[in-house]
């Protein structure tokens, strides 16, 4: 053990999978090393001191040891457990969605400090925010920004003309809006209303506290959600799996609204 190199970092657990008898392979997002995979040995046994650290969505400071193929979680300390994300059905579904997007959009060892900060901030807000679906939209817009996919919402991505307050079209392939004259250049472009563009601009330009003051009707919220999802799935070339679970919970399958939990997240 003493001969192997160790290093310190911190990380949020995005994913974990069972390995061997009682091990787990953990995917962390770290501020300084980007996404990393590490093995937590013996963590499925109740006596393990690691299980709290490597539970989903948990933010911990970590000491890792360099291993042959995978680094090993040697020890660490929990910074934030984000308890409401584990004890409230709706919030946990949102956290799964956030973690999946971050995981799918990132490659190993690509440092992205802004993305790490966005993840921590989003998980914090998810613990207490009432309007979780608008929070997810705000997260998506900022995620795209962090990754360099900020959609252009002011000018036509084809002819560069300023957008007029008419029905335009959103082009996932173009990474923004097409004016009515340029719609034909992209078969996949879908109509987008004036109000939906306004909502996207607010989400793009303001922090969540400000953006959440805007009243958005159900239909408009759905349109914005659709636009962002189509853009995200185009970029990922993959369906976002956990979106189905969010939809199930939203579908009124559940009789009672999720109970509110205290804001404090124990550590």
């Amino acid at each position: 053990m003493s001969s192997s190199k160790t290093y310190r970092t911190e990380g949020v657990v995005l994913r974990r999978s069972d390995s061997g008898e009682a091990d787990r392979i953990i995917t962390f997002l770290t501020p300084d090393k980007g996404k990393i995979h590490a093995v937590a040995r013996g963590v499925r046994k109740p006596k393990s001191k690691l299980y709290g650290l490597v539970e989903l969505f948990t933010h911990s400071s970590l000491m890792l040891a360099q291993g042959h193929s995978l680094d090993i979680v040697a020890q660490g300390e929990t910074i934030h457990t984000f308890l409401p994300l584990k004890s409230d059905l709706q919030r946990s579904a949102c956290a799964f969605y956030v973690a999946e997007l971050v995981n799918r959009f990132t490659l190993e060892h690509e440092e992205n400090r802004a993305l790490f900060d966005l993840l921590i901030h989003t998980l914090e807000q998810l613990c207490c925010e009432k309007n979780v679906s608008l929070l997810l939209r705000h997260f998506e817009v900022n995620l795209l920004q962090c990754l360099g996919y900020r959609p252009n919402l002011h000018r036509c991505v084809e002819c560069n003309a300023l957008l007029q307050p008419v029905t335009n079209a959103f082009s996932p392939a173009g990474g923004g809006i097409l004016c009515p004259g340029c719609v034909k250049t992209d078969q996949m472009a879908r109509p987008i209303s004036v109000d939906a563009i306004k909502v996207l601009r607010v989400l793009q330009g303001f922090d969540f506290a400000t953006a959440s003051r805007v009243r958005i009707k159900q239909g408009l919220a759905q349109e914005v959600e659709q636009v962002l999802r189509s853009y995200i799935e185009f970029l990922l070339e993959h369906k976002v799996q956990s979106a189905a679970w969010l939809d199930t919970l939203k579908g009124g399958d559940l009789a009672s609204p999720s109970p509110s939990y205290p804001v404090t997240s124990a550590s």
Binding site: D18, V43, R44, P46, Q241, S256
Partner: protein, 204 residues
């Protein structure tokens, strides 16, 4: 000579491949096992391959609780002494064993065969949830004890079931929180588990 070695390695490669597909077996372990089997005596290897074939032919899932069974119904479901007013819901067949070992639980079981895992695309429809709800309809069952693992997926599954079952007017309990968060039932010791069953909490 060269020819023979080619025909020899082909079956070995196939065996390594097949072993590698098993859970928890990496490429190196697969090789180690394959070479072990290559050197083991014929009787031992035969016994193993027969045991594997038997498991697929003779063992199936209980038509009531979906636990592993050697006939249409499992041992627990066949036993008239078991308390039919109570169902303990677990994630996998392996989780029944530690609960049986405690000897404090006398009811029946229901095996979900997984947990809600949104990122893997697993929701209630991919689990034996519909079958569980169907078992509750005739009013025999008075209590459902949720014994999914105390981790994020296990909790999400329990919260979802609680809402579904609670709406049917059946008492829902959850294993007491003596179990450490993130732990796995399969590896929990008898004392902890006995306490968790006895101190189970009503949640609906």
């Amino acid at each position: 000579m060269g020819r023979q070695s080619i025909s020899l390695t082909e079956p070995v490669a196939r065996l390594v491949d097949a072993l590698h597909k098993l859970p928890g077996i990496g490429p190196k372990s697969a090789q180690r096992l394959a070479y072990y089997l290559l050197q083991a005596d014929k009787e031992q290897v035969k016994a193993l391959s027969e045991a594997i074939t038997m498991v697929k032919e003779k063992v199936s899932l209980c038509s009531v609780c979906f636990n592993i069974a050697d006939s249409e119904k499992c041992e627990v479901c066949r036993d008239p002494q078991r308390d039919a007013s109570m169902i303990c819901v677990v994630e996998k067949p392996m989780d029944v064993l530690p609960i049986e070992r405690t000897k404090v639980y006398k009811g029946l079981y229901h095996v979900l065969h997984g947990t809600i895992a949104p990122t893997e695309g697993i929701g209630p429809d991919q689990l034996r949830v519909r079958e569980l709800l169907a078992r509750l309809r005739d009013g025999t069952v008075k209590e459902v004890m949720l014994a999914t693992n105390p981790n994020v997926e296990g909790e999400a599954t329990a919260m979802y079931l609680q809402k579904q079952i609670g709406a049917m007017g059946v008492r829902v309990t959850r294993l007491a929180r003596g179990l450490p968060f993130g732990a796995d039932l399969e590896y929990t010791d008898d004392v902890t588990l006995t306490g968790a069953i006895q101190r189970r909490e009503q949640i609906s």
